[in-house]
Symmetry: C2
Subunit: 244 residues, 2 copies
């Protein structure tokens, strides 16, 4: 193996360990990825040296904790996450339910941030996870307002649904993504000058459907629309390079 | 470049972007790491394909959000974090200050988890960060009770301090790590059978020193010792391979 192919293999190993969810032995990794044991061992050694992979007392491998500081660094580098974070915390506290920030990255919808409410039923997707476009409120908003259709091209709307979303400024899904869960999402806009604006993320509240009905659709929508507007203002009107 | 050296270079690129904290251009990365622009570009391409690195609209690079799900996966795979998480949340709420879980990994002390209290002054180290052994409460506990002296060999104690820590079962540092900050740490033990036990993490409360005095050393110590014992019980007495 030489050059970029080796890096690809090392990344295969890393993602394989991530997906396994439990510590995995060398032989098993080699077999799963069709890699000679010796190459596999060399790749792992480089990854272990930097704590990107950790080796336990039984000689099994799993993702290492250096990934955690790298990942949290990646999150901090996203201006929209920094701008929205205190607002997500406020809303999760005020509404008592889980609030998400979801963004289109590399043609996929990713959970950029999440603040859990104290509610018993908590929406499963974790920070950094990819969520599907079609049934989600975020997918609907990106399909209508988003910059790219690649990931959201499969989103289908009922009669007049897209028009309603456009008019109200928010999207709703009930039980379509996860049974028993209602999600209301609103766009976070960033001004790009001359009255134009970009959709930079979706802020969404997820709650068990009975609890969502108690809160009330219009109450939730009103709060989140105001909060997303504040996040957009904190982000500022001039689009700096990401990472600034 | 061939084999493991390429993986090392790819990891150099990744950690360089992490440490930069802002988006960095190709020329700059090549110069900083003494890499030809073409090799550097090939490495980055592999990393970008998997969202381990992201490329912004100006062609600059920074750590990508896939690292976030990898990192959170690594965190979930640590049994002591899973066992301690609800207890950290309880303590942060009850005491109103930030509670840390710190562990010795790869001969360094890492923040395994952290739950922030609502207090104004919040201790800076983030989840995944390395903390120094010498002045910290965690370093003192590992130096006395820990399995390895490699990272903690430099920890120095005042007259009788080690004996006091051993007797009381907790370590304290006031203003030694961060000016104005007091940290009280207690060991989290895991039973290994036949009455033996391993130090698997340190649970610590960090608060502004005046606030720490209000809470009271003995009150904080009593709460954390009981909480760490509960975390140890949740972890169970049989040491499974990490990642299980």
């Amino acid at each position: 193996m030489a050059g970029a192919a080796t890096v690809d293999k090392a990344l295969d190993v890393l993602f394989h360990l991530h997906e396994a969810g439990v510590a995995v032995g060398l032989t098993e990794i080699g077999r799963a990825l069709d890699l000679p044991k010796s190459s596999c061992h060399r790749l792992l050694q480089s990854l272990v040296d930097r704590e990107v992979v950790s080796r336990d007392e039984h000689g099994r491998y799993r993702p290492g904790l250096a990934l955690l500081s790298l990942g949290i660094g990646a999150q901090r580098g996203e201006p929209v996450i920094a701008a929205a974070r205190p607002i997500l915390e406020e809303e999760a506290r005020a509404l008592g339910e889980t609030v998400f920030l979801v963004g289109l990255r590399h043609d996929r919808l990713r959970v950029l941030d999440k603040v859990e409410g104290p509610g018993f039923l908590r929406a499963a997707p974790g920070v950094g996870d990819v969520v599907p476009a079609p049934p989600t409120a975020a997918g609907k908003l990106y399909a209508i307002f988003g910059p790219s259709m690649a990931a959201t091209g499969e989103v289908r709307f009922c009669d007049g649904e897209a028009e309603t979303i456009r008019r109200r400024g928010y999207a709703l899904n009930r039980d379509a993504w996860i049974e028993g869960l209602s999600v209301l999402g609103v766009p976070v806009w960033q001004a790009t000058g001359a009255g134009a604006k970009d959709l930079v993320a979706v802020m969404a509240l997820a709650a068990a459907s009975p609890r969502f009905d108690q809160l009330g659709e219009s109450e939730v929508a009103g709060r989140l629309l105001a909060s997303a507007a504040r996040a957009g203002e904190r982000l500022g009107g001039v689009r700096l390079g990401a990472g600034r």
